[in-house]
C-alpha cells in the first residue's frame, strides 16, 4: 500500500478505482429509483405516448 502511496500517478489511479467501486456499490445499495432512472422512464413514457 505504501508503494502505491509513494507514487502520485498510482495514488490517483487507486482513487479512480475506488470511485468505480463506490459507484457500483451505490448502484447495488440504492433502493429507490435514481434521478437518472426516473428521467429515462419519463422519456420512455413520452415516446410511448407519441406512437
Amino acid at each position: 500500500m505504501s508503494k502505491i502511496l509513494q507514487s502520485l500517478p498510482l495514488t490517483v489511479t487507486a482513487g479512480v478505482v475506488l470511485t468505480i467501486i463506490m459507484a457500483f456499490l451505490t448502484d447495488q445499495m440504492s433502493t429507490a429509483p435514481t434521478p437518472s432512472e426516473m428521467m429515462d422512464e419519463a422519456g420512455d413514457q413520452m415516446q410511448d405516448m407519441m406512437h
Partner: protein, 159 residues
C-alpha cells in the same frame, strides 16, 4: 429566504472545500514532488514559512467544509439517511470527507508539527513523523477522487 440560506450554506461549503482540497492537491502535486529539486539553503523558506501558513488554511478549510456540509445535509433532510448509508449516493462521499478531515486533524497536523519543528521532539521522531504525514496526505489525495465524484454526482442528480 429559507432557499437562500440553503444556497448560501452550500456556497460556504464549496468555498471551504476549494480551500481544503486545493491545498491538499498543492501539497501532493506541487510541494512534495518539488522538495528534492530545491537547494538545501532555500528549503527553510518552505519548512518555516510556506508550509505552516498552508497548513493553517488547510486544517481550518477541512473543519469548515465538514461543518457547512453537515449543516447543509441537515437542512436538506438527508443527514441521518446519508450517515447510515440509506442514501448511499451522498453517504459514501460524506463518510470519505469525514475520514479525510479526521486524518487532517488527528494524523497529518500533529505529525507535521513534529516534522516542521513547531513542537519539541527528538531527532529520530522528525523523519518518522514527516513520512507518516506524507503517506496520510496521499491517502487523502486518493480518497478525494471518489469523495468529489460522490458530491458532484449527487448535486447534479447523476447517479
Amino acid at each position: 429566504m429559507e432557499q437562500f440560506i440553503v444556497f448560501f450554506i452550500r456556497y460556504l461549503h464549496v468555498v471551504s472545500g476549494v480551500m481544503w482540497i486545493g491545498l491538499l492537491w498543492y501539497f501532493n502535486f506541487v510541494q512534495i514532488p518539488s522538495m528534492p529539486k530545491i537547494p538545501d539553503e532555500q528549503k527553510p523558506a518552505i519548512g518555516k514559512v510556506i508550509a505552516p501558513a498552508a497548513l493553517f488554511w488547510f486544517r481550518w478549510g477541512a473543519a469548515s467544509t465538514v461543518l457547512f456540509g453537515l449543516i447543509l445535509a441537515w437542512q436538506n433532510g438527508y443527514l441521518v439517511d446519508a450517515l447510515i448509508l440509506k442514501e448511499p449516493a451522498i453517504g459514501f462521499g460524506m463518510w470519505l470527507g469525514l475520514i479525510m478531515a479526521f486524518n487532517v486533524w488527528f494524523i497529518i497536523w500533529p505529525n507535521q508539527k513534529i516534522a516542521l519543528g513547531l513542537v519539541e521532539a527528538n531527532a529520530d521522531a522528525k523523519p518518522k513523523a514527516a513520512r507518516l504525514a506524507m503517506l496520510t496526505s496521499r491517502v487523502n489525495t486518493m480518497l478525494s477522487v471518489p469523495m468529489l465524484f460522490s458530491m458532484v454526482s449527487y448535486q447534479n442528480n447523476f447517479y
